[in-house]
Symmetry: C2
Subunit: 344 residues, 2 copies
């Protein structure tokens, strides 16, 4: 089969690799039909986080089950399944708490594991990791595209909103106009936020944010943006979603908090300096979140997507085939695309 291989920053190649085989009784082999490129993939693409030559890429994918191990019960050959970006055993203390990313057997797709940006994946703990999609959507390309972001960005935006404690009627701010920030807007609206202020830079994405339910757009940054939000909200938002992961974005998020506010942070932290803990302390601002336990959220979000109440697919604004994956990274790296869908 073919899969995307990391060679060096900026150098990804689609190459022949051995077909995956069942190694453990709980494995499944899945033929990938759809995958994505994630904003967090850009960290290694840009050489900002370590990634070893030869490692696979792609942690967002869905596909059709080709084969299952003898221990697999809930998943069958021919099922269409969606995968969260981490696999998990479904049985440990953390899985039972809905924190599957901390599963004692957790692993992420890509790196030494098979990646979604390839033709096939060996999926460990298939029963607990994969979620079967209804047969009825099999030929509905638009619906499949709407489901695809549940692999990561929609669940991650939802985790930011849940972590920030978004409630009905709340005034919420979202820092970041990337795919996760945009999904954070959808999630905040879904949880009943009345006012959703988005802080971002790019006009096209901000328009999309408005389409997703944002009520106010702030296109400045740093102290100017903080001042504007504090003024608009008369003292800060009640819940803030931090969807970038830099020191600046985190301090902007803290800066626009009302006393007693919670920052739901889901941007993979790449922090050059510290956060403004003094403001946090004196205003009882909490920091909640982290890597999203997307597996826990798929069932409820999927129900809304299937019912037509939730549609994150507009964040996928460029589609490539497997050979086009390197070009897809380049499009995201140069901000020509918000997020790339890979169809196989």
């Amino acid at each position: 089969m073919k899969a995307t291989i990391f060679h060096a920053p900026g150098d990804l190649r689609v190459e022949k690799v051995p077909d995956p085989v069942i190694k453990e009784p709980s494995d499944a082999i899945v033929r990938v039909t759809h995958a994505c490129i994630c904003g967090s993939d850009l960290w290694f693409y840009r050489g900002l986080t370590p990634y070893e030559p030869g490692w696979r890429t792609g942690h967002e994918w869905m596909g059709i089950v080709e084969e299952v191990g003898p221990g697999v019960r809930a998943i069958r050959k021919g099922d269409r399944v969606i995968a969260p970006f981490a696999f998990s055993d479904g049985d440990c203390e953390f899985c039972r708490k809905g924190l599957q990313t901390s599963c004692i057997h957790a692993g992420f797709w890509g790196m030494k594991n098979d990646g979604g940006q390839g033709e096939m994946v060996r999926a460990p703990y298939a029963d607990s990791t994969l979620v079967v999609l209804p047969q009825s959507i099999e030929n509905d390309a638009a619906m499949l595209k709407s489901v695809l972001p549940l692999t990561d960005v929609m669940g991650t935006g939802h985790h930011a909103a849940v972590s920030a404690g978004v409630r009905k009627g709340a005034t919420v701010a979202v820092v970041g106009d990337g795919a996760v920030g945009l999904c954070g807007v959808l999630a905040a609206r879904r949880l009943g936020a009345e006012r959703i202020i988005v802080l971002g830079h790019r006009a096209g994405r901000m328009e999309l944010a408005q389409g997703f339910g944002a009520t106010d757009l702030v296109m400045s940054s740093g102290d100017e943006a903080i001042g504007r939000v504090l003024e608009m909200t008369k003292g800060g938002a009640e819940a803030v979603l931090e969807c970038v992961g830099t020191s600046d974005s985190l301090n902007t998020a803290i800066g626009i908090c009302r006393p007693g506010c919670r920052v739901g942070y889901v941007g993979v932290p790449h922090h050059g300096s510290g956060m403004d803990i003094t403001k946090m302390f004196f205003q009882n601002i909490a920091l909640h979140g982290g890597v999203a336990p997307v597996r826990a959220y798929i069932p409820e979000l999927l129900a809304d997507v299937l019912a037509g109440r939730l549609d994150p697919s507009p964040v996928l604004d460029l589609t490539v085939d497997l050979a086009g994956v390197p070009e897809g990274y380049l499009a995201m790296d140069t901000r020509k695309a918000i997020k790339v869908m890979v169809t196989l």
Copy 2:
């Protein structure tokens, strides 16, 4: 009257100052009978935070009402009252949410306001700030001493425990064996923690922690302490109370968290460097807390103290009179006393 005045780091003097007078209709004038020296007072005493010459000191006090302004309804002359370390109007958005430290009219005792380490205090917003104590304890010196820590340290330890989400049956760790850490042990036990691990250095305080309900004592620090707690708990505590306020203590607190754990932090932050946000991110560790809204907690904690179910008074291990305040600071600075009570 006499009051303690800050002159320079290490130089506090008890001097004559004008008697306070009613300035606003909601004021009360209270004659202080008991006060404390706080661990956080040591920051300015050591010159580590700015404090201006001439400022008053002391934010923990109780006493007898001498006079009330024409707008005061709930407090009367002759009442024994206890004050939380911050005054608040009782009526704003944040007071109504129980976050009185963020009151739009909040202020702390000391500095430009009257301080508790003096004979009298003008108390703004007397009705909402002060809590009247029952007449029945007036001649019960031991009970008065048990009530006194509700001005700050007991409420602050409780805030750490509440912020950390301590639940019945939980395995909890407390970082710090100062008065707040010790009160954190009491608070964790009161909220039903089954196992309470205390990280500290001083044998006498650790013994007191055991008397307060600590089940395990860890007297190492840094990585060694982290390693021990991770081993003892097979992966970390479910809730951690950070009761110091340095980078090291916060990173120790984060280091001993189980995935999904919350750090309740109440140590006034004096951070040299950043926190380990990467661990926080990948294990969904939350940071909750800040300056304690002690006013919100006084009623429930007071009920337990009056009923004999809660007694933080052992943290007050040295008593001085007003003239002895400078000596009291020295005793705390040199760790000869955990916490000093001032009787007037």
